[in-house]
Amino acid sequence: MSTTATRQEIEQRVFQALEEFGAEPDQIGPDAEFEAMDVDSLDLVELAQIVEDDYGVQLKGEDMEGITTVRQAVDLVVSKLP
């Protein structure tokens, strides 16, 4: 668990997770919308688990409400870094 994770590192980790979820690599980017990448609520729960494991950031269901893009998700994680 790192308290010195940079925004860029987190973004790269999210990109990697999205590719594992089955999103097309050329679709993945900071402004990509989850819906356009066919990333749904089950994927986001899994993403939350990855973020918790890697950065110690706990995301609850209500935290994720209104989060529709990669940038928003990364911002959320960064804002909650311990």
């Binding site: 594992e20 089955g22 066919d38 089950l42 729960v45 899994e46 688990q49 918790e52």
Partner: protein, 401 residues
């Protein structure tokens, strides 16, 4: 108005390979998909057929069902994999014996070793027994009734029977139906072995004197059923007909069949009645034939009792399980496909590994080599039996077009 059910597409993943015709051709040629005591679908690589997302989100049993459904739907000529009519009147009924037990076992291990926090949020949607039905319905936009029957090794046949009833009753105009199973896992294998159901020798030899239990297999069989007039209107190629179906219960023992075959015999009789067929019309019997000492004896009794000793002695009876093992909840569906394709080719595929007759098991089990059906120009009608733990008996009566 009678609403008849036609079969317009078939798909399968089995230990003999990927594809319904592959199963038919290899079994008919006498090939076996059993190695080292298991019937694994070893030619199946999910990544060859499914997207990253589909593979990641589905247990192996759902993957089998998806691939078999893709084949069946393409075989039926559905454009873009979508129903050729109202999706709301298109149903999906896919059975399984145990569902995603591989996922369940893995996640339980993870729970014990690393705690609740490490469990995948996909656990439940992957392990639930109706996962294959839900995923296939989503993939192909099937918006009518969807569910999965639960009746152990009779479940695949129950699915087809329920699908036929949905069409006959008027609830659906077409149904994607079948069964799927991926239970060659440490717990399921150990548990079946513990109850002495599995073969110690690792050889599936139905009806042979030396038979000593079933061999675990895995895979899926999916069929596309359509209401006859609707299928004809769209110019579909018709492979055959699901003419009759019946189901009974032994109400005798949780795992052992009733020795006289009373319940099974009644299911065969009722299925023939449902089809409007007599025992003389039956030119082939695809037996449940598990290679367990109890089943093969009680099933032989049931066939004799239902068809009459004279007719039973004439009709070729063979077991698909001799070539692929026991696919549990998928067996009834896979074997219905094998029956249909055999009837279409007017051939009785063989019971492999059959060498030594047993006392009282004296039907024509088509030992080791396929044989042409002797039915001249008559209609090619056969039955496929499926019996399950719990005393469930389900019998399908099929006719090739």
């Amino acid at each position: 108005m009678t609403r008849n059910t036609v079969i317009t597409g078939v798909g399968a993943v089995t230990p003999l390979g990927v594809g319904a015709r592959t199963l038919h051709e290899r079994w008919t040629a006498g090939q076996s998909g059993i190695e080292d005591g298991f019937g694994r679908a070893s030619e199946f690589d999910p990544k060859e057929h499914l997207s990253v997302k589909e593979v990641r989100r589905s247990d192996r049993f759902t993957q089998f069902a998806l691939v078999a459904a893709n084949e069946a739907i393409a075989d039926a000529g559905w454009e873009d994999g979508k129903p050729p009519g109202d999706p709301d009147r298109t149903a999906c009924v896919i059975a399984t014996g145990i569902g995603g037990i591989g996922t369940l076992e893995n996640q339980h291990l993870l729970l014990q070793e690393q705690g609740a926090g490490k469990i995948s949020p996909l656990s439940i949607p992957m392990l639930m027994a109706n996962a294959a039905t839900g995923v296939v319905a989503m993939r192909h936009d099937l918006r009518g009734q969807s569910f999965g029957p639960v009746s152990a090794c009779a479940a695949g046949a129950h699915a087809l029977g329920m699908a036929e009833r949905l069409i006959a009753y008027g609830d659906a105009d077409r149904v994607v139906t079948g069964g799927s199973e991926a239970a060659i896992t440490p717990l399921a294998t150990a548990a079946f072995a513990k109850m002495d159901a599995l073969s110690n020798s690792g050889v599936s030899r139905p009806f042979d004197r030396r038979r000593d239990g079933f061999v675990m297999g895995e895979g899926a069989g999916i069929l596309v059923l359509e209401e006859e007039e609707a299928a004809e209107e769209r110019g579909a190629r018709i492979l055959g007909y699901l003419r009759g179906y019946a189901s009974t219960s032994d109400a005798h023992h949780l795992t052992a069949p009733e020795p006289s075959g009373r319940g099974a015999s009644r299911a065969i009789e009722l299925a023939l009645e449902d089809a409007g067929a007599g025992s003389d019309d039956i030119v082939y019997v695809n037996a449940h034939g598990t290679s367990t000492p109890l089943n093969d004896r009680s099933e032989t009794n049931a066939i004799k009792s239902a068809l009459g000793d004279e007719r039973a002695a004439e009709v070729p009876v063979s077991s698909t399980k001799s070539a692929i093992g026991h696919l549990l909840g998928a067996a009834g569906a896979v074997e219905a496909i094998a029956t249909l394709l055999a009837l279409r080719d007017r051939i009785a595929p063989p019971t492999l590994n059959y060498e030594e007759p047993d006392d009282g098991l004296d039907l024509d089990y088509v030992p080791n080599e396929a044989r042409p059906l002797q039915n001249g120009d008559a209609r090619a009608i056969g039955i496929s039996n499926a019996f399950g733990f719990g005393g469930h008996n389900a019998v399908l009566c099929l006719e090739a077009s």
